[in-house]
């Protein structure tokens, strides 16, 4: 166990409710845990509590002496601002020195294919390149856990994919655990071993992506089929919904073969048998969707 929170609560002076309300979870070695939630759900406050930067009730324990907190846990935020006029090599060199690392600027930049940017000013880099450097900086000195607070917010799809690949590579090559806060559900689904859904400071759901999907849909899947005027509805044995010429059937896993055969026999075409997505599960469990900025919709 690297990190364990038990019944952690935080309330700001003058606030009517807790910003973080009796949150418990743990992060194991070589694990990616995601915290999902809308803006104001308490994600950043929770990170501050983990970093002992705020008073809290409850208990936070680490898999190492607490005085070595800054050595073993690193934090990078979406606002990974870099000082004006700082070059990539300056920043990487500074982190190497501050963390007493034996790594070299060249080797580190090579590990993320950023050698060509060694002499570039950080402020001139694209959003994706900046965040790639931010992730690289977080790994210098071989921490046990890195906390990435909404790191991919504001990035385009390609840049986000690039960051995902980098995170997977870091976990694979260096065995570093990652605690990720995000409101991109596809990102959470792609990366996470464990997901915590935070709402108004409290844990609303907790589990693997598979568990959460299963919990939301009770092992049901979705079949879709296109239909035309020759489709024989009288022969269809399953309850369905229809949108224009697209027919949808929610079914249990053990019914899959029969659903497919039945749709085919009725004259359906372009039949698809789909797993439910995390996004669908989130909508069903939580009751709202998140937009790109983390607002509810």
């Amino acid at each position: 166990m690297l990190l364990e929170l038990k019944e952690v609560s935080v309330r700001y002076r003058g606030a009517e409710r807790n910003a973080v309300d009796r949150v418990s979870f743990s992060v194991e070695e070589n694990q990616i845990v995601s915290i999902v939630g809308h803006n104001g759900a308490g994600k950043s406050t929770l990170i501050q509590a983990i970093m002992q930067d705020i008073h809290y009730a409850g208990q936070i324990t680490y898999g190492f002496p607490e005085k070595e907190l800054y050595k073993w846990i690193r934090v990078q935020t979406q606002t990974s601002t870099f000082e004006k006029k700082a070059k990539v090599k300056d920043m990487v060199q500074l982190y190497i020195q501050l963390t007493d690392s034996r790594e070299t600027v060249e080797a580190l930049l090579e590990s993320v294919q950023m050698q060509d940017f060694k002499h570039a000013y950080l402020e001139k880099l694209s959003g994706g390149e900046k965040q790639k450097i931010a992730v690289l900086l977080a790994t210098i000195g071989s921490p046990k856990l890195i906390i990435l607070d909404e790191l991919t917010t504001g990035l385009d799809v390609v840049s986000r994919r690039m960051i995902w690949d980098l995170l997977n590579k870091i976990r694979r090559d260096k065995g570093i655990s990652i605690l990720l806060t995000s409101h991109f559900l596809d990102e959470v689904e792609y990366l996470s071993d464990d997901v915590i859904i935070l709402e108004r400071g409290a844990v609303k759901q907790h589990g693997t992506v598979g568990e959460l999907v299963e919990h939301a849909f009770d092992r049901s899947k979705l079949a879709t089929s296109l239909t035309d005027s020759s489709f024989r509805y009288a022969d269809l044995r399953y309850k369905y919904t229809k949108h224009k010429n697209k027919l949808m059937i929610e079914y249990r896993v053990e019914q899959e073969r029969d659903v497919f055969d039945n749709l085919q026999a009725c004259g359906g075409y372009d039949i698809r048998l789909q797993q439910r997505t995390f996004e669908e599960a989130f909508l069903k469990l939580i009751g709202y969707q998140l937009d790109e900025k983390g607002e509810t919709k």
Partner: protein
């Protein structure tokens, strides 16, 4: 020690890369010296050539600019942008961060001051009074402390760069033009010549430095004026600490237990 050294070197690198700040720091005293030196070439103050007095006065301007507009701006920006927290999570305390920024700014000032003194030597043969080095350095230290105290007070009050930057610049200008640093006090209206000792404490630094530089005790008294300026500095630091405590207590998170 290693951490402080690395951070100081990093700050220094960034400081010297910021061309507008570097140009302003180097060219402003030189420009003033050339301009006012020409305008006031025949003027004398207390039997001292005014041109000679411009050098210590503009050294105070250099210090003011470095502390108000370089150190203060960088410090507030670091706080506001989250860079201070970024370093905190790397094990660098706010105190260590500000100390290393302070040292880097100090080195920056020294380079500018030495360049300015060299310029005046080659420009019109002005010679630095080496025999008075000790009182001059002591007075410069007190002036430096006063400026840092003023910035500490300002930063305690103004947390956003949008508020700090214009106010710091205004105070710097106020101190420069209404502190007898650009032209002699004797050119001010009579009432202002007296009022200035109550409304602009840098005047004590000015008097102390001019006295130390020229050895002319009719301008002021090195020890007394430095002590007065130090008293103002202590007052600013105490006021800043009180403000910090009040503002911090409003923001600190408290725990709710059921």
């Amino acid at each position: 020690m290693k951490t402080s050294l690395s951070l100081t070197k990093y700050h220094l690198k960034l400081l010297f890369r910021d061309l507008p700040s570097v140009l302003m720091a180097f060219l402003m005293p030189i420009g003033f010296y050339v301009l006012f030196g020409y305008m006031l070439q025949d003027a004398n103050v207390n039997n001292n050539s005014l041109t000679d007095l411009l050098i210590p006065l503009y050294i105070i301007i250099i210090i003011g600019n470095a502390v108000f507009n370089v150190f203060g701006v960088l410090y507030v920006n670091a706080k506001e942008s989250g860079n201070l927290q970024k370093f905190k999570f790397l094990g660098v305390s706010e105190l260590r961060f500000s100390f290393t920024l302070f040292v880097a700014t100090l080195v920056f000032q020294l380079v500018v001051i030495i360049s300015f003194i060299l310029f005046t030597y080659f420009f019109d043969g002005s010679v630095f009074p080496q025999d008075k080095l000790l009182p001059i350095l002591a007075t410069l230290c007190v002036i430096l402390v006063f400026h840092f105290a003023a910035v500490f007070f300002l930063v305690s009050l103004l947390k956003k760069s949008t508020a700090y930057n214009p106010i710091a610049l205004t105070l710097f200008m106020y101190q420069m033009f209404l502190g007898g640093l650009t032209f002699p006090l004797q050119m001010f209206p009579e009432f202002l010549q007296k009022a200035i000792y109550y409304i602009n404490p840098i005047i004590y630094g000015r008097d102390a430095l001019l006295t130390a530089w020229t050895g002319d005790s009719s301008i002021g008294h090195v020890l007394r004026d430095n002590m007065i300026l130090l008293s103002f500095s202590v007052g600013l630091v105490v006021a800043g600490m009180i403000l910090n405590r009040i503002l911090l207590s409003q923001k600190t998170a408290v725990v709710f237990t059921r």
